[in-house]
């Protein structure tokens, strides 16, 4: 590819993740670029205090525990693909926002995503597709996932 320096790949642990990350890894290698793996834990507490107060202890999931499990999964996943050296990041939030934030903070110049899936390019689309694509400050590669 052409002069990429920092490549971000969004990992959702779906069956196509290996294919997408392997492609990102190859592109990083060909460009001597840094590679970062980002997994977003999409957990949102089911609070709806408009209707009735909810006692946190009855439903609360330990967010720290969720993040810790996700970090372990990402570590194993990276090891399997010989990517121990790649930056690994797990965050809690919505994929669209977290990917956008990561790209800006870390000055990525390419995002590699699946053509669909939980962390696929579809999360950047929808009714405001153009706006989101405009907003992204870098190139985006949508890797074809066989449907």
């Amino acid at each position: 590819m052409s002069d990429y320096t920092h490549i971000l790949v969004a990992v959702d642990f779906s069956s196509s993740s290996e294919q997408i990350v392997t492609k990102a890894r190859d592109i990083a290698k060909n460009n001597n670029a840094r590679l970062s793996l980002l997994h977003i834990v999409e957990y949102l507490p089911p609070i709806d205090s408009i209707y009735e107060p909810v006692l946190a202890s009855t439903w609360a999931i330990d967010e720290t525990e969720l993040l810790s499990q996700a970090k372990n999964s990402l570590k194993k996943f990276s090891k399997k693909l010989n990517l121990d050296d790649a930056q690994q990041q797990v965050v809690l939030g919505t994929p669209k926002h977290e990917i956008s934030q990561f790209v800006k903070d870390q000055q990525c110049d390419l995002i590699v995503m699946g053509s669909h899936g939980r962390h696929g390019i579809n999360i950047l689309l929808g009714s405001t597709a153009n706006a989101v694509l405009h907003e992204m400050p870098c190139d985006i590669l949508a890797v074809k996932i066989p449907s």
Copy 2:
């Protein structure tokens, strides 16, 4: 990049075309891949015979002439970027349909497009964004165009 063999780039002669095609050219070079340049002439005859019959001679634009002019423009454009050897194709139709058709007929494995513009990735989006992206049988790289 990783093992691409035939790369398609959609050229719309906008100010960002050179940037997009140069990127596609570099990727093709790094992959020893074929490069095809496609320009779509979006002319549609303004026929509306529901209301009244229209004499073709009074408004008709010569489609052959349009295509011929576009071919010349594409030839000059390719020459400027040292791409005389790349396959050059000019067709009459709608970008979404023609790009999809070309990719299938010519077995392209990567489409390079601008992040917006007349032949940008936005033409694949809209209300059926997911459907179109699913339909495309190959990877798609959206090159960031400064807005």
